[in-house]
Symmetry: C2
Subunit: 193 residues, 2 copies
């Protein structure tokens, strides 16, 4: 039976399972984590897990959504509306949430994270571009492709950053990002404006 209500119980269970998964992902690769591991770590009954999630992947997706949403809220509330892309705020958030990010940065999680970024960045850029040129029909590179490009470069940079133990300040990483991504965007906008 699926839980229908939004009890203190169901919230507790979901939180325990999510937290357990994240903890485990910091210790070993996602693929090596077994549902039994999660159950043991969370101290939750087997049948309870399956009443909330269909799958290990299902749980992962749910956690990624949480992470993305938190990031969205944080970045949005930092008042990053003026820039074409709130990249610096994103890097700051990522550093602040280093443990959480770390867990989702490799293996299966990276794909989903990229996807999440993509949607967010896509809508952000869409708004920015509209404010500049009122319609994106003049672009000779499709907007979703641009968003995908920006998002995956984002993930590349974050990974690189973590591989270097987050030694650099967010501002420096953002500078690299700007150097890689912005020339193209500016060229595209200039040509189509």
């Amino acid at each position: 039976m699926k839980p229908v209500s939004d009890d203190r119980r169901t919230r507790r269970t979901r939180h325990l399972l999510g937290a357990a998964l994240v903890e485990l992902m910091l210790e070993k690769p996602y693929e090596a984590i077994t549902i039994q591991d999660i159950l043991d770590r969370a101290d939750v009954g087997r049948s309870t897990f399956y009443s909330h999630y269909t799958d290990k992947d299902n749980l992962l997706m749910s956690e990624i959504s949480r992470v993305i949403h938190a990031l969205d809220v944080n970045v949005e509330s930092a008042g990053a509306h003026r820039s074409l892309l709130p990249s610096l705020e994103l890097f700051r958030h990522v550093k602040q949430q280093r443990r959480l990010t770390q867990a989702f940065l490799w293996g299966r999680g990276a794909d989903m994270l990229t996807r999440g970024f993509q949607e967010q960045i896509s809508s952000h850029i869409q708004v920015s571009i509209r404010s500049i040129k009122d319609s994106e029909t003049g672009l000779d590179v499709p907007l979703p492709l641009i968003a995908n490009f920006a998002a995956s470069t984002f993930v590349v940079l974050i990974r690189w950053w973590f591989e270097h133990d987050l030694r650099q300040p967010p501002e420096e990483i953002d500078a690299l990002y700007q150097k890689l991504v912005m020339p193209s965007l500016h060229t595209l906008l200039r040509e189509s404006g």
Copy 2:
């Protein structure tokens, strides 16, 4: 016992297993493929599999290497030495090998493919840049990062292409690639030159 010789037998077995994996990856996601599936499809005995590969991942890696190597040979022999990056040749090859590429484009395979591209592109760019400026020490973006950037953008474009059923000719995809990646590279090289 591991096979030591390079028999007609061992070659046949390895080929059967590799082909079976690729076939299956065209039908369902890599994670859903079981070793048993591969054995059934290849019509190879269980113990034989384990005498050649340790793992499903091991087999996958081996196939990726094959793909990357074939691509390397093909592109290299197309005489793509002059350009900063033989992107057009790469896109042509990808289209020509569409079925093979398709199989490795999603899930686990994409990561490894990106990694493979990365190494190849990295060395290519390294050579190109050396021929332009004799040393890359003046770059304010690390070369491996640039290579990673170029490689992952590459994969983004290939994916996008396949999502649109390869409707566009390679030249058009390459044009998009140029627009996304080249402005940054040129800026970086100009500034450091």
